[in-house]
C-alpha cells in the first residue's frame, strides 16, 4: 500500500527524526515487526494472556462502538485482536504447529502490517470491551502495544507524531512557544477583569504555591471559558495556585502510541512541581491524561513527593467545605453528561463529576448507557485527524444516538479530546446540542 493513501496519514521522515524513531523499508517491516512483537510479549503480561485466552465467543462484538458505527467486521474487538493473534499463533505460541494452524495461524506479510495500521487506528482504546468480555480482555492494551510497535516500524500516524514532537519542543501539544503562551494568559486575565470586574490572577511559575494546575493546552485557546472558570474557582476558594511555564499540557499523547514520550511528559511535569515546591498537582479536563496520572504514575515516576488529584476532586473538596457556592439558576438548560472513557472506566471518576453537576445545573438528565457502560465519543486515543473525518463520524454514531435520545441542550463532556471530537461529529449526525466542559458550567454558576 502506498504511504500516501493510508488513513490516517503516516508520519514523514522529519517527524520520525524528532521522536528518534527509525525509518524501516517496507520489505523489512514484517521481520522487524516480529522482533518487536517478541520483545513486547516479554514485558506485557496482558498481551500474552489476551492472545492466549480468547474463546472467540463474540460477546464483545455488539458492544464496540467502532463495529456498531462502521459495520466493518475487522472492527469487532475479537477480530481486531485476531489480526495479531494469527501472527502470534504462527510464531510465538506453544504447541505443535498443526494445532496452531487450526487456531488460524498465518505468516506475517506486508498486508498484515497494512491491516494493523488501519484497524489499530479505528480502535479508540475506550476499554468498553473489557467490561463485557467474560475474560476481561482489554483490547485497548493490544491497541496501545500495536501502535507502539507500528511507531517503531516508522509508522506512527503523522498527527500523533506531530503532537508528541510539539510537546517535546514547547511543553504543550499545540506547539505554542512560551511567549505565545504567556501572551494568551495575559489576554485571559484581561478577559476575566472585563467579565467580573475583579483582579483574578493566572499565576505562572509562582514558587511555593499550594497547587500546580496543569490544564489541557487547548483550554488556553479554544475552551477558554473552562480555563477562566478554574481561575475563578481558585480565586474564590482562596487557594494559591500556579501554572508552569515548562509544561502547560495534561493530555499525554505518548500513552496512545509511544511510551518514551509518555514517560518524558510525566517526568517533565513532576520536575516542574518539585521545582516550584507545590503541595499537589491538579490535572485539568483531559481523559487519558488523567488515566496516565491516576494509574501509571507509580510505574513511570515512582513515589511522588506530592499527590496528583483531578480538578473535580479538588473542586468537590471546596464545595463540600463550603469554600465555594454555586447558583444553579445560571445553568437552566437541560444538561446531560458524557462519561469520558478514561474518566469512568480507566480513571475512577464517575460520581465526582455528577456531584458537581447536580450542584451547579438545574436540569440534569442521565444518558443511556451511562457511567462505566458509556460509549466513546469516537475521538478517543487521539483519532482527531482531519483526514480521518469519515471514520470519526462513523465511530461517533452510537454516541450520537445516545445524546439525541436525552433531548439535552447542553452536553457536558469534560475531556479535551471529547470536546474536540463531539461538536464536529454531532453536527454531522444532526444532533442539536452544545458541547461544554464541566468547568464551563461551574464557572457560569460560581458565586463570586
Amino acid at each position: 500500500m502506498s504511504e500516501q493513501v493510508r488513513i490516517p496519514y503516516v508520519a514523514r521522515e522529519k517527524e520520525l527524526k524528532d521522536l528518534y524513531l527509525p525509518m524501516v523499508a517496507p520489505e523489512d517491516r514484517p521481520q522487524t515487526a516480529l522482533e518487536l512483537l517478541g520483545e513486547m510479549l516479554k514485558y506485557k503480561r496482558s498481551l500474552k494472556l489476551y492472545l492466549d485466552v480468547c474463546t472467540h465467543c463474540g460477546a464483545c462484538a455488539e458492544q464496540c462502538h467502532s463495529y456498531l458505527g462502521t459495520k466493518d467486521p475487522y472492527n469487532m474487538p475479537v477480530a481486531r485482536v485476531d489480526l495479531v493473534r494469527r501472527v502470534y499463533k504462527q510464531v510465538f505460541a506453544s504447541g505443535p504447529s498443526f494445532l496452531r494452524t487450526w487456531d488460524g495461524a498465518k505468516a506475517i506479510d506486508q498486508e498484515t502490517i497494512d491491516l494493523w495500521y488501519k484497524y489499530f487506528h479505528q480502535c479508540n482504546q475506550c476499554r468498553r470491551c473489557a467490561i463485557f468480555c467474560p475474560k476481561g480482555i482489554d483490547t485497548a492494551e493490544v491497541t496501545i502495544a500495536m501502535r507502539e510497535l507500528l511507531a517503531h516500524l516508522g509508522m506512527p500516524s503523522r498527527f500523533h507524531a506531530g503532537i508528541a514532537k510539539n510537546m517535546a519542543k514547547t511543553g504543550n501539544n499545540m506547539g505554542n512557544p512560551l511567549p505565545a503562551v504567556l501572551d494568551g494568559i495575559e489576554f485571559l486575565e484581561e478577559e476575566l477583569k472585563e467579565e467580573t470586574g475583579l483582579d483574578i490572577p493566572i499565576p505562572v511559575d509562582k514558587e511555593g504555591a499550594e497547587v500546580l494546575f496543569n490544564p489541557s493546552s487547548s483550554d488556553l485557546y479554544v475552551n477558554t471559558d473552562g480555563f477562566m472558570a478554574v481561575a475563578k474557582i481558585f480565586y474564590k476558594a482562596g487557594v494559591s495556585w500556579t501554572l508552569s511555564s515548562k509544561i502547560t499540557e495534561t493530555a499525554n499523547f505518548g500513552l496512545f502510541f509511544h511510551e518514551p514520550s509518555m514517560r518524558e511528559h510525566s517526568r517533565l511535569l513532576v520536575q516542574a512541581g518539585k521545582e516550584l515546591g507545590v503541595k499537589r498537582l491538579v490535572a485539568g479536563e483531559c481523559g487519558h491524561g488523567w488515566r496516565t496520572w491516576r494509574m501509571f504514575t507509580e510505574t513511570i515516576n515512582g513515589p511522588l513527593p506530592f499527590p496528583v488529584v483531578h480538578l473535580f476532586e479538588e473542586v468537590l473538596g471546596y464545595l463540600r467545605d463550603g469554600r465555594i457556592k454555586f447558583d444553579k439558576s445560571m445553568n437552566p438548560e437541560v444538561v446531560t453528561y458524557h462519561d469520558p472513557c478514561n474518566y469512568a472506566r480507566a480513571g475512577d471518576l464517575i460520581n465526582q463529576p455528577r456531584e458537581l453537576l447536580s450542584a451547579c445545573v438545574q436540569n440534569f438528565v442521565e444518558m443511556t448507557p451511562t457511567k462505566e457502560l458509556s460509549f466513546c465519543c469516537g475521538g478517543g486515543s487521539g483519532i482527531l485527524m482531519d483526514e480521518a473525518m469519515k471514520i470519526r463520524e462513523a465511530l461517533a454514531q452510537p454516541k450520537a444516538e445516545c445524546v439525541r435520545s436525552t433531548g439535552a441542550e447542553i452536553l457536558c463532556a469534560p475531556c479535551a479530546i471529547c470536546k474536540a471530537q463531539l461538536p464536529d461529529v454531532l453536527e454531522h449526525h444532526k444532533v442539536d446540542v452544545t458541547v461544554k466542559g464541566l468547568s464551563d458550567l461551574m464557572g457560569r454558576a460560581l458565586i463570586l
Binding site: L41, K42, Y43, K44, R45, S46, K48, L49, D52, V53, C54, T55, H56, C57, G58, A59, E62, P73, M76, A79, D82, S94, G95, P96, L99, R100, T101, W102, D103, G104, R127, A130, I131, F132, C133, P134, K135, G136, I137, D138, K279, R280, R294, M295, F296, E298, T299, P303, F306, P307, V309, G317, A344, R345, A346, G347, D348, I350, E372, L373
Partner: protein, 241 residues
Amino acid sequence: MSSLFGWVIPYIVVLLFLGGMLLRIMSWLKIPVPFKLTVFPCPKTRAGAAADLVTESVGFKSLWRGGKGLWFMSWLFHISLAFILIGHFFGIGFLGQQFTWIGATSEQSLELSVLFGTYAGVALSLGLLLLAIRRITSPTMKFISSFADYLVLVLLIGIVGSGMYMRMFHGVTYEAVHDYLIGLITFHPVPLPDNMAFIFHFTLVQLLLLYFPYSKLLHSCGIFFSRWLIVRPHERQVIIK
C-alpha cells in the same frame, strides 16, 4: 493392545496435560505487569477482587451485562458441565451411594444419582448445541471462528453424545468404571471395561486433554489471570489534604 490403550496411554495423557498446563501458567506468571490496568468501578479489597472472580466464574456477570441469549447458552453449558464433572467424581467414586449420606436408601441414592446425571446431561447437551448452532448460523460468528473453534465443539459433542448414549441406552456399570479408574490411580492394572461407547468416550476425553493446553480451552485457567489484571484492588497514592 488393550493394555497400551487402557494402561499406558492414560498416564502419558495426564502427564502431558498437567505438564502443559503448568508450563502455560508459568509462562504468564513470569512476564511482568508494568502498569495498573484496573477497570473501574473496581473492588476495594483483595476479598472483593476474589468475590469478583467468583461471581464471574459462577454467574458469568460480564456476559449478563450484554446479550442475555449468549449468557444463557454459555452459563447453561458451563454450569451443567461443572455439575457433571462433580457427578463423575461422586457417582463413579462412590458408586452412586453418595446420597445415602443425607439419608437416602441405597436404591434411592442410585436412582437420584442417575436422575441428576441425566438432567445435567440433557442441560449440557442443550447448552452445547445452542452454542454450536450460534457459531454456525451467525455470519459474524463465522467471520471470527477458526477451525479450532469448530473442532472443540465437535470434540465436546462427541464426548457428551457418547456419555448420554451410555446413560440412556447402553450403559456400563459404575462398578466397571470405578474398578478401572481405581486401578489406574493405585497403579494396579485392571482391563478397560468392554464397552465401545465407553472406550469412545474415554478416548475423546483424552484427546481433549491433550489438546487442552494449546487451545482456547486455556480460558478455564486463564480467566483468573486475565481478570485479575483488571479487578485487582488499586492502592492510590495517599492524598494529603
